[in-house]
């Protein structure tokens, strides 16, 4: 199994050793992130001083690009691997802290719109990916994993579903490779298309949150457009993530009825186990700010802490995207994923543009 898309493993019983093991990788993430910030500032200042017409390349893109170059040209030593894998942790930390930058009214309004669109998107994506999986004669459980990954939330959903439907490591690896490769492509295509269509920040943020599968890539794709779009993308993606338990439960029951997975005895416990807790943290943080638990300066500080956490995430997105490793995973799942993702991207774009026209986003 490719190292760049392997399932996370945690060694129990050695907490101190595990903590020490992640330090080099975290330092690498921080170093790349900080270099990206310096590059953004210095390149823009250099171009401005010479009166050059140069696009404003933000730290988000620099961090991803540096990570991509390192992971695709050098062999990253093992000592860094555990720490690089923590980018998911920084992502979730950043999302909870970002809750401070949302007024509860906006969360209710945008979250409500997002949830409505999410339900439509999930239903259509599941149907589409299942159809494509059958058309291309993929293994049924691989089709299920691709459908779950592309409809809900990428790698996290695939990991959550893998155990629940008793799928092979190999199938999970294929599905993750397809989702990650297409997420990496979306990072560069979504902002270009949106600029071409002159989309506003809210519309684009909703599209990125609905159309890009993995949470890290959706966050980065949103932030690449603008800070405001990044916030909306996180909100839309969070609404999508909240559905993970329900979708995985439905698949677990389906495969248990087929006699190919364990029966779910306690559905409420299953839902709670699969529910992403950072969604609750995000809502609670927003609620606290709504009740004026923090003053204006403190809210700004929490927002900045969130940006620092995302900085490590964006560096990690680049570092774990290894195109060579992904290409080894096979062409058919990738084709199914690619066809499905393009159709889902068009579909979600249509949904967002329709919502904008009807409701005025």
């Amino acid at each position: 199994m490719a190292s760049s898309i392997s399932l996370p493993r945690v060694e129990s019983g050695k907490p101190l050793l595990n903590a020490i093991r992640i330090v080099p990788g975290i330092l690498l993430l921080a170093g790349i992130g900080y270099a990206a910030k310096i590059l953004e500032h210095s390149v823009n200042a250099y171009a401005k001083a010479r009166h050059w017409t140069f696009p404003n390349i933000e730290y988000v893109l620099w961090a991803i690009l540096i990570g991509l170059v390192i992971s695709n040209t050098l062999s990253i030593p093992r000592i860094f691997q555990s720490g690089i894998a923590t980018y998911e942790f920084w992502l979730k930390l950043g999302i909870v802290l970002l809750g401070a930058r949302f007024v509860l009214r906006d969360v209710m309004k945008l979250g409500g719109i997002s949830l409505g669109l999410v339900v439509i998107e999930i239903t259509l994506s599941l149907a589409l990916m299942t159809f494509l999986g059958r058309l291309f004669k993929l293994k049924p459980k691989l089709t299920s994993l691709l459908a779950i990954g592309s409809s809900v939330c990428g790698v996290s959903a695939i990991i959550a579903a893998k155990g629940a439907i008793d799928a092979d490591d190999e199938d999970a690896s294929f599905a993750m490779a397809a989702i990650l490769a297409l997420g990496a492509l979306a990072l560069f295509t979504f902002p270009v298309i949106a600029h071409g269509l002159h989309m506003n920040d809210v519309s684009y943020g909703l599209w990125a949150g609905l159309g890009v599968d993995n949470t890290a890539e959706a966050t980065a794709a949103g932030a690449l457009y603008s800070e405001a779009a990044g916030k909306v993308a996180v909100l839309a993606k969070t609404a999508r993530n909240a559905m993970i338990g329900f979708v995985v439960l439905a698949y677990a029951i389906y495969w248990a009825n087929q006699g190919k997975a364990e029966k779910v005895t306690n559905k409420a416990a299953f839902l709670w186990k699969k529910f992403p807790k950072f969604v609750l943290g995000f809502l609670l943080m927003s609620l606290l700010v709504g009740f004026h638990a923090f003053n204006k300066g403190q809210v700004a500080s929490l927002g900045n802490l969130s940006k620092w956490a995302f900085l490590l995430t964006f560096a990690g997105v680049g570092l774990r995207t290894n195109f060579r490793e992904m290409s080894k995973q096979g062409l058919r799942p990738f084709i199914v994923g690619a066809v499905g993702e393009v159709l889902i991207a068009c579909l979600t774009l249509g949904l967002v543009l329709a919502a904008n026209r009807i409701g005025g986003l």
């Binding site: 945690v10 129990s12 019983g13 998911e88 942790f89 979730k92 930390l93 999302i95 909870v96 802290l97 401070a100 992403p276 807790k277 950072f278 609750l280 943290g281 609670l284 943080m285 606290l288 638990a293 923090f294 300066g297 403190q298 700004a300 500080s301 929490l302 900045n304 802490l305 940006k307 620092w308």
Partner: protein, 43 residues
């Protein structure tokens, strides 16, 4: 430690997911900001 012992200790001390750790750290940071341990965090 044997595999069985590992399993037993895992049952006795249920592991905390990274989601939960992220929420715990986020609110610890929020508390630190609230009580001015971290003031005017720069960007």
């Amino acid at each position: 430690m044997t595999r069985e012992a590992h399993r037993t200790s895992a049952r006795e001390y249920p592991s905390v997911s990274i989601d939960t750790w992220a929420v715990i750290l986020a609110f610890a940071l929020a508390l630190a900001v609230k009580f001015d341990v971290f003031k005017n965090v720069p960007w």
